[in-house]
Symmetry: C2
Amino acid sequence: MAYRQLSIESIAEYLQGIPEMKKVFSSFNDLDIREIGDGNLNYVYLVKNKEKPNESVALKQAVPFLRIVGESWPLPKERMTIEIKALLKASEWCPQNVPEIFFYSHEMSLVVMKDLSSHGVLRGQMIEGMYFPKLADHISTYLAQNLFHTSDLFLDHREKKEMVREFINIDLCKITEDFVFTHPYEQNETNVYNPELKESDIKSIQEDSNLKISVAEMKKKFMTEAQALIHGDLHTGSIMASEEETFVIDPEFAFVGPMGFDLGAIIGNLLMSYFSHEYRQPLLGREPYQYRKWLLETIESLWSEFVNKFENLWINHQNSSGDLYWDYDSGVEHFKNQREKYILDLLQDSIGFAACKMMRRILGLAKVADIADITDLKERARIENITLQVGKKMVTERKKFQSISEVIDLAQEFSTLK
Amino acid sequence: MAYRQLSIESIAEYLQGIPEMKKVFSSFNDLDIREIGDGNLNYVYLVKNKEKPNESVALKQAVPFLRIVGESWPLPKERMTIEIKALLKASEWCPQNVPEIFFYSHEMSLVVMKDLSSHGVLRGQMIEGMYFPKLADHISTYLAQNLFHTSDLFLDHREKKEMVREFINIDLCKITEDFVFTHPYEQNETNVYNPELKESDIKSIQEDSNLKISVAEMKKKFMTEAQALIHGDLHTGSIMASEEETFVIDPEFAFVGPMGFDLGAIIGNLLMSYFSHEYRQPLLGREPYQYRKWLLETIESLWSEFVNKFENLWINHQNSSGDLYWDYDSGVEHFKNQREKYILDLLQDSIGFAACKMMRRILGLAKVADIADITDLKERARIENITLQVGKKMVTERKKFQSISEVIDLAQEFSTLK
């Protein structure tokens, strides 16, 4: 079927023509259809049977331009092909953490999936100070399963390289290259600043030689290192969560890139939430320590559980695949040394990427509501400065970090509620 | 035209049917056709007009198996497609250092190119102690031109990623992954050892935890880092040279990989030649210092000229493309810092890869004649041990090296003709 853009008016008829939809909907006569996309890239519709509200799906369709700008910014709708394939790949390894797919069409650039509207977007819920006791467990599982099973540590050389080819994602990678690694660190017309942020604070990032070289190194890693199939945009807005369940959505930026980019994205977003709650917890009428403590504990357990799960996958795979590389007296211990070194490199990558993602949210075009929605602009600037200073230290000194707890210590050092 | 394997009998008729060949040969009636392939992978024929010996070409055809083993080791003939494209790409940037292509056919997996038989293979000529005063200049140009112009430092993001896709080289990369980075560092049935090499010396490599972790890191880099279109097999057997001219041939292993792999390959091969001439120069009836001094000087100038040329390409490109990333008071100096850091990382990569390529020539299947053809097996073992020990230090301590002269010092420290 040739591509055509669906609308609230045409969706019911379209769904009725798809055999797979008959398993979800007992009737297509009285559907409640609403557009719920955040309006940046795609259209997302929620479709419910008014008679039986349990019969519902989410339908996401890409249009061949950047929705937020319009047709003047063309963007190939083939990005939906990447998203569909990435969702299917993730559902091989952790079906419980990605939305179930009922139907997809590469030609129509659309996917019909489980309605997750009973789960809020994690970012919004965290802004409201909600706790997610299973978040670290779920996201560490999602990351360990996906990153391990799409890396050279698990995949056959042929599968891996064919995956690299299949997931080359030229246009969406370019967005990251520009808006995460380039524009925020130079004077660029796309940057947007809080008017209360001092020019000297902006310059302290944009004209710092060491910092810019470090960011350029992270950009090079992003552009060249085909380590595993990564989500590519794993911020708290790409996660739908309840207390019990966690779903990772929107992998349209997926490509075979450095693992640390995903780990850094989520760590960086949790850190920004932590900084923002200096302001938000008192605003919510709460004492400020408990929630922020939970956030830091979440970062710490997300990392340590990730390491634990990733290492176990690696050990089990090596044991079952009969690889002999370490097969001699001290081999077991030496294999352990190798894993520790691999994980340490990954920690340092993750810290560098987390820093880039934090600083760009302050200096670049796209903001995070956690900080950008703080109405007291002076308070916002104070928190933005904490973010910038912590980011600066993280990226320039990333190779000195030996454990995640040093990241926690650094965050606490700069964000002391003074 | 469907694929068929050519032979000495069928080549004249085949060439006669190709319009492009009429520009080279005034007649096809009396051709001298000889097979000159080294017998590992492909067939290479030298075709000369007996009447007018200046009318000559080399014809290289791939067969769908590893020639040295036979049809039991299938190898897609598509590797010739990579070789042709890599030759064409290199001839864009340094036509003087790659053989001129007269004709190619992807279907027939063949290429007809300049007859370079007046230029010997570099390795053989170096074994004989011949000097190549322009080698460092030519190879540093070849490397700077090719590596810079196929990296993200020069290419548009789209061209770069399409190049990555186009040059995915699954089967030939696998050969390198196995025979350079894996088998030599484990007990493997494909390994071949000089019987005079002690088991303890072999174990000192194969059971050294730090060394194996370092080699695994270099392997990861080889498998994941899509930095530039590299030759992939740049040893002295892939170079045809006279005193005046230098041609790089056989880029069938080309893919988008780490730049340091090419730089390391040539440095490693020159170092092995240096070690071998402890033995060879006296055998040639010469005093042993002068030639070995020339070899080390060649390594040193190859590197420093490469850096010089590469940096100039980068600076000129930045100046002409108007990138503003460093556009502020101290920007010029900061850009210089960035280049120096990039080059230092590249030096350390190159040292690591050189080491892997050196050690594998001692412990793995494929040898270099410089060392393997030493008939006094005890002398050969002594030189092999020097190679292993220097390689071990280079790969495990690669991040400590700050300049190429430290590599030279190390080589001299271990190979003192004592």
